[in-house]
Subunit: 140 residues, 2 copies
């Protein structure tokens, strides 16, 4: 909370209840909700907030590097309050999106740079598969 307010101020962004609510909601979930999902989740506590505000807030937070946008291949974006690049795992059965500690893939960027001659700035890594839960329920 206080951190967010601080960081917003540093970027000349105003601290508003809507921004706090959206950032807090994103920080407290392990899901990776879309704009629509966030909007609906805040409907009860912030009934007057419009969908446009959700979009604009997400855009502002994204530009301020306070959240990141995920492009899982669906028809809409998802958002993640963890801003350092880390791979995501998507369950093709239940559509859940979970974080993966990137420590396991630390050496990849280096390898790619060596082999491609690109200067790599960022990466987006998605793995698609069946999560432990869905594996189990399929077996029964």
């Amino acid at each position: 909370m206080k951190e967010l307010a601080q960081q917003l101020k540093e970027k000349n962004l105003k601290v508003t209840p809507q921004r706090l609510a959206i950032f807090q909601m994103l920080s407290n979930t392990v899901e990776h909700p879309s704009a629509e999902t966030i909007y609906k989740a805040l409907e009860t506590t912030h009934p007057t907030m419009s969908l446009a505000t959700v979009y604009k807030t997400l855009d502002a937070l994204k530009k301020a590097s306070l959240i990141q946008e995920l492009n899982v291949g669906e028809d809409c974006f998802r958002y993640d309050a963890r801003t350092h690049s880390h791979p995501h795992l998507i369950c093709v059965s239940c559509c859940k999106v979970v974080d993966m500690d990137s420590i396991y893939l630390n050496d990849i960027r280096e390898r790619v740079e060596k082999n491609s001659d690109f200067d790599i700035l960022d990466e987006k890594i998605y793995f698609y598969g069946v999560c432990p839960n869905c594996k189990e329920s399929k077996e029964h």
Copy 2:
């Protein structure tokens, strides 16, 4: 060519000039065009073909695993006639999308499976950076 006709038949898909044209166009380019780009590229040779047909054909080819859909983070999809999963490099300066031989990353999927308990079926890996060309032109 003949191969495609064969493969379409095997999947109970009809062989049509439009499908052949789109697949051929995709096979002969190292770019990774979008539906719109494909549509425009075929405008002269296939003036009657509609954009809806392009979309449906791409969808059919995708479902038949004859092409793959790329989600680079733009507002539309790109397509690739190489169907085995391989990482893509996107130049943030000139927006070029290039293929990367996946040999270099062969061991990753295994590592991820071990650490996540998912059964991994597929992966989408994108690296964003500056390509050799753009690096050079920036220096001068």
